[in-house]
């Protein structure tokens, strides 16, 4: 076990990057019927490397879910067992989430938030007859411990997993296009994470860690809040791209977690493109069972607020996460209220509906509102309020003119790399937003030369401009903490 703990399985470690191709080759060399066991062993070793004792918790949850699933499938009317099981899983989750506010140091097992939600969704789907209960505990264990998703999602639904898994056991063959597309998506993920996210994190972390906000002025505070929006997006989207790409190389199509969320026109659409698997989980298992939008506007708004509050709690048992979530709830409600009269309001302001300028205005306003909300996500409640107040209290133009922005640790060249990287990512996000085509599909359509050039470009940018190395812990993804 100690040698497993010494292995660095984090996605940005060289060890993992070297190990992965070896794993993929071995995976395909094995006969189909043995691949599932190979996958299971790798899943368990992968998870154990982050803390062997937490493997016990994961396996215990799988055992609970397995037996409860069997019992529910025999008697779907018995809600008692289901309720007890869900309460138990939620209590375990809240125990680790709440440990940050109690005077004890308990480290939450990696991925507990994600695989617990997967387990709850499995039980509810069995209860609702959406899926058959799984009688093979190994399938359930593979599902819950699936190494691409176990640490930070995407939240994989069982009915999506099992069909692919059983098909893979029967007939998965190495497919050049699928494997190459998966690798391209992984490279794109590393580009987003190492070139943009890690770089833009430098001024963000410096400002929020020292919190000398009074010295910088409103403009710089605004720029840093935008920078944090970019950081959290590229960090999480980069991670998602990497794991989706990995899964694709071994025959699993994971659900997309992001769909150009910053190019949308309103906050409602933002949640259709941000952390999609969590949003849809909350929609399917919280919002809709509460009644959704079917019980009148007022009830709908209550349901929206409850769903967002639970989302905030899921992220952490702290006031600032709740504030962030409530803010988004309020945005949604206000958006609903304003929607019928939105275009009339825009017309009064001289903005024509469905024009490029109108779309640009809506997108910009939405992005700014979301960036303000991210401030609450990043730091404590009191600090967030101070930050927002200081952002509006003085422009601080002279600070900008005197180059105080460079004091945050990122040089003009660094900012240029962030901007150009964002433009590069924006081009592919636009394709995703307009045509629902991922980068690998877009490149495929452009031909072999364009695809090769883009891959060479991204690889060189990662190697030359990526933030990694002795002094940095690029292996830490933001959403790993949830």
């Amino acid at each position: 076990m100690s040698c497993i703990k010494d292995m660095d399985f984090s996605l940005t470690s060289l060890f993992f990057i070297f190990l992965l191709p070896i794993y993929i080759v071995l995976y395909y060399l094995l006969p189909n019927r043995f691949r599932q066991y190979f996958l299971l062993v790798f899943n368990l070793i992968f998870y154990a490397s982050f803390g062997p004792r937490y493997l016990l918790l994961l396996v215990s949850e799988v055992v609970i879910i397995y037996f409860v699933g069997v019992l529910i499938s025999r008697d779907r009317t018995n809600r008692g067992i289901l309720a007890v099981a869900i309460i138990l899983l939620v209590v375990i989750l809240l125990f680790f989430k709440g440990s940050s506010i109690f005077p004890m140091t308990i480290v939450a097992p990696l991925g507990v938030s994600f695989y617990t939600l997967q387990g709850i969704s499995y039980l509810l789907d069995v209860r609702n007859g959406k899926i058959q209960c799984e009688h093979n505990v190994f399938n359930l264990l593979i599902y819950m411990s699936f190494f691409p998703t176990v640490t930070s999602g995407p939240i994989f639904r069982y009915h999506d997993f099992i069909g692919q898994h059983l098909q893979n056991i029967l007939e998965l063959k190495p497919d050049y296009n699928r494997i190459v597309n998966g690798i391209i998506y992984m490279i794109y993920g590393y580009f987003l994470k190492l070139v943009i996210a890690e770089r833009v994190a430098i001024p963000v972390n410096k400002l929020f860690d020292t919190f000398e906000t009074a010295e910088y002025g409103g403009i710089i505070l605004f720029i840093v809040s935008i920078a944090y929006s970019l950081q959290i997006y590229f960090d999480f989207a980069g991670y998602s791209a990497i794991v989706i790409g990995i899964a694709e190389t071994i025959g699993f199509n994971l659900p997309e977690n992001f769909r150009a969320p910053y190019l949308v026109k309103n906050v409602k659409d933002f949640w259709g493109g941000w952390h999609i698997t969590l949003s849809t989980w909350l929609r399917d298992y919280i919002y809709i069972p509460l009644g959704g939008s079917k019980k009148g506007k007022f009830r709908k708004w209550i349901n929206i607020l409850i769903t967002f509050i639970l989302s905030g709690i899921w992220h952490g048992f702290r006031w600032h996460y709740l504030a962030w979530a409530m803010l988004h709830g309020i945005y949604r409600i206000v958006g609903d209220v304003v929607f019928p009269i939105k275009h009339r309001l825009l017309l009064y302001a001289g903005v024509k509906k469905d024009t490029a300028f109108c779309r640009l205005l809506e997108t910009t306003i939405t992005f700014v509102l979301i960036s303000f909300a991210w401030v609450f996500f990043r730091t404590g409640l009191r600090s967030s309020i101070i930050y927002i107040v200081q952002m509006f209290s003085s422009l601080g133009l002279e600070n900008m003119i005197h180059g105080r922005l460079w004091d945050l640790g990122l040089s003009p060249f660094g900012w240029l790399v962030v901007m150009l990287g964002t433009v590069f990512a924006f081009v592919f996000d636009l394709q995703l937003y307009c045509h629902k085509k991922r980068i690998d599909v877009v490149l495929d359509e452009q031909g072999v030369s364009a695809k090769s050039f883009c891959v060479i470009f991204m690889l060189l940018m990662i190697l030359v401009l990526g933030i990694y190395g002795d002094n940095y812990d690029a292996g830490s993804f933001i959403y790993k903490d949830f």
């Binding site: 660095d8 060289l14 060249f413 090769s452 060479i456 933030i467 990694y468 190395g469």
Partner: protein, 334 residues
């Protein structure tokens, strides 16, 4: 089938192009072994000195050439742990096939955890030639990021701000002459005289260190290399330390290997640390000359090493080295 071959070629070409472009971009990094190859070429050195900072501060190959005509090189790095010395002996043998390897045993007698210092491991092993020996030595050095050190670039890639996002010569500078680092300056503190801690008693060294000492001895015997063990003069030695070097002396005697303990020869060396050390520990230029002269005489006494004076290829290397040392002296004076 043809399609698959083209695909394989395309993938290989992309990876090759990226690797070539990236490695062309990487700045060269200093390392005792790679510098030795660059500075003197292969199959040249008759004597190679291996060890820690005691060696690269304390042994002057130019003086050895002037006094005895021996062509030598100092392949030493700071805090070189015994398993790293073993790796160095192998690398030196592969490159130079020297007649004599002189191994300083200071680090064989010190305690953990100093032997596992991460920065020293980087100094010694970062650009050690890639291969299984590098991997094994890194494992013995107990570092966490073996994969990073194996491929080098993640370690030197820490300068995110510049377009040359890679540190040049992160670990050491390469302004050394035949591996020797010229130092002047004097010690300003009073040091304990060696007489005060002189002892003939023995105390065993760390088991792992002893294993590697025996490996070094065995390797040199199997490859027909004369091994000389030395303990460069070191003023901060304690009585307990000296017992361990006495133990090493006994191992050397049992293996019929010459062991030269600089601390016991201080009187004959006429070393006065107040003048001959630049920091109260390491020898300065004057101290290095005394110690080197002594070593040269002892090597002459026990071994028959070729006098290379007059041989064109060696003379040209020594001429270059002398010029480089002159520049070092001028820079230091300035």
């Amino acid at each position: 089938m043809r399609k698959n071959i083209w695909r394989a070629i395309r993938v290989f070409f992309i990876l090759l192009l990226v690797s070539i472009l990236f490695y062309l971009y990487l700045p060269p990094q200093w390392n005792a072994i790679t510098n030795m190859k660059k500075e003197i070429g292969e199959e040249k050195a008759d004597i190679v000195f291996i060890g820690s900072s005691h060696v690269f501060n304390g042994i002057n190959p130019i003086l050895l050439w002037d006094e005895q005509g021996f062509f030598s090189y100092v392949a030493a790095c700071g805090g070189q742990a015994p398993w790293q010395s073993y790796a160095y002996i192998k690398a030196v043998n592969n490159l130079e096939h020297p007649q004599i390897i002189v191994l300083d045993v200071y680090c064989f007698g010190i305690e953990e955890p100093r032997l596992y210092d991460y920065n020293h491991t980087l100094e010694n092993m970062l650009t050690y030639p890639f291969g299984i020996e590098k991997y094994k030595t890194l494992r013995e050095s107990k570092i966490d990021n073996i994969a990073d050190v194996m491929v080098v670039f993640p370690i030197i890639h820490d300068n995110y701000e510049q377009i040359k996002g890679l540190s040049i010569n992160k670990v050491l500078d390469s302004n050394w002459v035949l591996g020797y680092s010229y130092r002047i300056g004097e010690c300003n503190e009073t040091l304990t005289p060696f007489d005060a801690i002189y002892t003939d008693e023995l105390a065993p060294i760390d088991t792992k260190c002893e294993i590697y000492l025996n490996k070094c001895i065995t390797y040199c015997k199997e490859n027909n290399i004369e091994l000389v063990l030395i303990n460069s003069p070191w003023p901060r030695i304690t009585e307990d330390d000296q017992k361990k070097y006495n133990y090493i002396a006994q191992i050397a005697a049992n293996s019929d290997i010459l062991f030269l303990d600089g601390n016991k020869e201080m009187k004959s060396l006429n070393i006065d640390y107040m003048q001959d050390s630049y920091d109260g520990s390491h020898l300065n230029y004057y101290g290095a000359c005394k110690w080197t002269k002594y070593l040269g005489n002892e090597i002459c006494k026990y071994f028959s090493v070729r006098n290379r004076r007059g041989e064109a290829k060696y003379e040209s290397i020594m001429q270059r080295s002398r010029e480089k040392l002159k520049k070092q002296i001028l820079v230091t004076v300035d």
